[in-house]
């Protein structure tokens, strides 16, 4: 066992996979220096041909990623900020997502789109988003959003080995988090949720940094309400069975998502819960999401992004008056 930070767990996973499979390479802006650390040190180990600093050309970087993947490689495309997926939208959303399907499952596109995501640093509307709903809304893409170093490493290895394009959004707020990481290799399959806290009264479904908010809220309420926290880990594939199992137990659910509320992740999950567990619900499915506005920067950020109090209030509201202290 060794203690690794979140970013270090990701870079270790990439390094291990690059060592294991020479078709794996990294391409992106500043991937050698790696301002967000997850590819730091790789160039010294694997050389510039496998850790490619690209021009400031998101379309070309993403397009080259898709093309190389179609031609037999497993590129890891660093979008830098996850927000920049919009710059590369044509190649990510239309080409990467759809090439396999539209060509009769003849040519697959095994690649990873890496992006640092989320708010917390007041970086404003174009550097703070987790464009999760948009990715989910494009069949063909997978979406991973780890909350812990352990998960990040295991999921990154699974993402690289996956035969599909996988968006891997890691959260800025999780970067300094540290955790014991086993020395032996492990892989966490995509689409398997993790119950981060067992409870019986209210289920909270979350991903990425929101898992930590949910856990904090659960802790604060533990004398009154027994909260179960489900970390989905990946949104595509979505472990809806894990959610339904928990909801059938608790009858109450709050979905917490850092992306924008309208047509969002929580809306989709809530609907699926309604479709599959309607008769088990003891309260309406509640959601806590980013407000329906661009993500404000600096001091205004907290008025857009879900805060602890909102999560806590939503849990209490879902629990109802029977649980008041």
């Amino acid at each position: 066992m060794k203690e690794l930070s979140y970013w270090n767990a990701i870079s270790e996973a990439i390094a291990e996979e690059m060592k294991r499979d020479e078709t794996v390479f990294v391409i992106g802006e500043n991937v050698q220096e790696s301002p967000f650390l997850v590819t730091k040190g790789l160039v010294q180990q694997f050389g510039p041909d496998r850790v490619m600093d690209a021009p400031l050309s998101e379309l070309a970087i993403a397009g080259a990623t898709v093309g190389a993947a179609m031609a037999g490689y497993r590129p890891i495309c660093d979008l830098t900020f996850a927000d920049f997926i919009y710059c590369a939208a044509d190649e990510v959303l239309m080409k990467a997502a759809q090439q396999y399907f539209s060509h009769n499952a003849k040519v697959n596109v095994p690649c990873v789109f890496l992006g640092v995501a989320g708010a917390g640093f007041g970086n404003g509307p174009e550097h703070s988003r987790i464009p999760a709903a948009m990715v989910m809304n494009n069949p063909g893409l997978k979406l991973v959003m780890p909350s812990t170093p352990y998960d990040a490493k295991g999921l990154m290895k699974a993402a690289i080995r996956d035969n599909n394009p996988v968006c891997f959004f890691f959260h800025k707020k999780c970067m300094p988090m540290k955790q014991e990481i086993p020395d032996e290799e492990y892989i966490i399959p995509l689409g398997v949720a993790d119950v981060k806290r067992v409870g019986s009264d209210v289920t909270v479904v979350a991903t990425s940094y929101m898992v930590h908010l949910a856990l904090e809220a659960a802790k604060n309420l533990e004398d009154i309400i027994s909260v179960e926290v489900i970390d989905l880990r990946s949104l595509v594939p979505l472990d809806i069975d894990a959610i339904i199992t928990s909801v059938k137990k608790t009858g109450r659910v709050v979905v917490v998502d850092e992306d924008t509320e309208c047509c969002g992740v929580a809306a989709e999950i809530g609907q699926q819960i309604m479709e599959r567990a309607f008769d088990y619900l003891d309260a309406p499915v509640a959601r806590v999401c980013a407000a329906n506005m661009p993500i404000a920067g600096a001091a205004m950020e907290k008025y857009v992004i879900p805060q602890l109090a909102q999560v806590q209030n939503a849990i209490e509201a879902a629990a109802g008056s029977g649980f008041s202290a």
């Binding site: 390479f25 041909d49 490619m52 690209a54 021009p55 050309s57 998101e58 379309l59 070309a60 970087i61 993403a62 397009g63 080259a64 990623t65 898709v66 093309g67 190389a68 993947a69 179609m70 031609a71 037999g72 490689y73 590129p75 044509d90 190649e91 239309m94 080409k95 090439q99 396999y100 399907f101 539209s102 060509h103 009769n104 499952a105 003849k106 040519v107 697959n108 596109v109 095994p110 069949p139 063909g140 997978k142 035969n163 599909n164």
Partner: protein, 326 residues
């Protein structure tokens, strides 16, 4: 550069005729309402695909133009064009399995698939070329687009990247002077697309797109440069679109009908006729052989149509299994 023998010339001629016949078949079926998708005719462009793709290695990556929905390129590379017809009829035997209606995808011939947003070919071909370079087996990538495609950001990003990384890619721009209904002259800052190449420190050549041999020669030169690791090339083929943007649409420039005189003037230099006359003059072709080839191509088109209609539709229950690769 490999010198073309008589058989090569005859094959090129036959492929030009096949392309024309299959294009006509698609147009007829579109007019009859049999196509389950739209069709963008390649009449006027045939020499470019046939000239450029003759002599490529089977494992070279090819990203075709949307004109003819890949016919001239695939035919010249050796693909049976009946797959194109079946695809347009939405059949499982089509080259996209009947899933997308027209996308070309024949991986065993290096055609990994196409996108339908013009210009994406630039960046995807960068990826193919990057893979080829990494593999180091001498594969090159050739990509075709129109004068409209050059106006997307992808070209500029790809050109810079491919040039910096000296990627083995050849870009052939078929300048037919129309993007949908908007003429090139009203949307481009430069007279010749080939001049853009200089901005990215790569060769740019202007070629007569109606002359199959001229195209072949220019492309072969660029292919050799790519194979030898010297980087990308841009070839501008001047050509002309005989028909409207797609079948059933008005043939206009902006909103006014295109000049009939201009179309007629270009048709005088029809690529099939031009090459036929040349080969007749050089005694490679005879009138009888021309007739024989024409009949054989008619028969092949007829057979392809039957093949298409007799082929099954894809099983819709498979669709959901094709969203993600196992």
């Amino acid at each position: 550069m490999k010198k073309l023998g008589k058989q090569d010339l005859l094959l090129m001629y036959r492929n030009l005729v096949r392309t024309r016949k299959f294009d006509e078949l698609n147009i007829r079926m579109a007019t009859e309402g049999k196509l389950l998708t739209f069709y963008h005719s390649c009449q006027g462009h045939e020499a470019i695909g046939v000239g450029a793709c003759t002599g490529l290695r089977k494992d070279d990556y090819l990203y075709p133009h949307h004109r003819g929905h890949g016919l001239s390129y695939a035919i010249a590379k050796g693909v049976n064009p009946r797959e194109c017809i079946a695809e347009h009829l939405g059949r499982a035997t089509g080259w996209g399995g009947g899933i997308t209606g027209f996308h070309t995808c024949v991986p065993e011939f290096g055609i990994l698939g196409v996108g339908a947003t013009i210009g994406s070919g630039f960046v995807l071909s960068v990826g193919f070329a990057l893979a080829a370079k990494k593999r180091g087996e001498g594969q090159i990538t050739i990509m075709f687009t129109g004068d409209g495609g050059i106006q997307r950001g992808q070209f500029h990003e790809a050109a810079n990247m491919a040039s910096v990384w000296k990627l083995p890619v050849v870009w052939v721009v078929e300048n037919n002077q129309m993007a949908w209904f908007t003429p090139y002259r009203d949307t481009s800052a430069v007279e010749d697309i080939a001049t853009l190449a200089a901005s990215y420190n790569m060769p740019g050549e202007i070629v007569d797109g109606m002359d199959v041999l001229a195209v072949h020669t220019a492309v072969q030169k660029a292919v050799e440069r790519a194979r030898s690791g010297e980087g990308p090339s841009l070839i501008e083929c001047k050509t002309y679109r005989y028909r409207s943007h797609s079948e059933g649409r008005p043939d206009v420039s902006h909103y006014l009908p295109r000049s009939k005189e201009e179309i007629a003037k270009w048709k005088e230099r029809d690529p099939v006729k031009l090459f036929e006359e040349k080969l007749l003059k050089e005694k490679v072709l005879t009138k009888a052989l021309i007739q024989k080839i024409s009949q054989e191509c008619d028969a092949e088109a007829e057979e392809a149509e039957t093949f298409g209609f007799e082929s099954p539709f894809p099983d819709p229950s498979n669709l959901s299994k094709m969203v993600y690769a196992p």
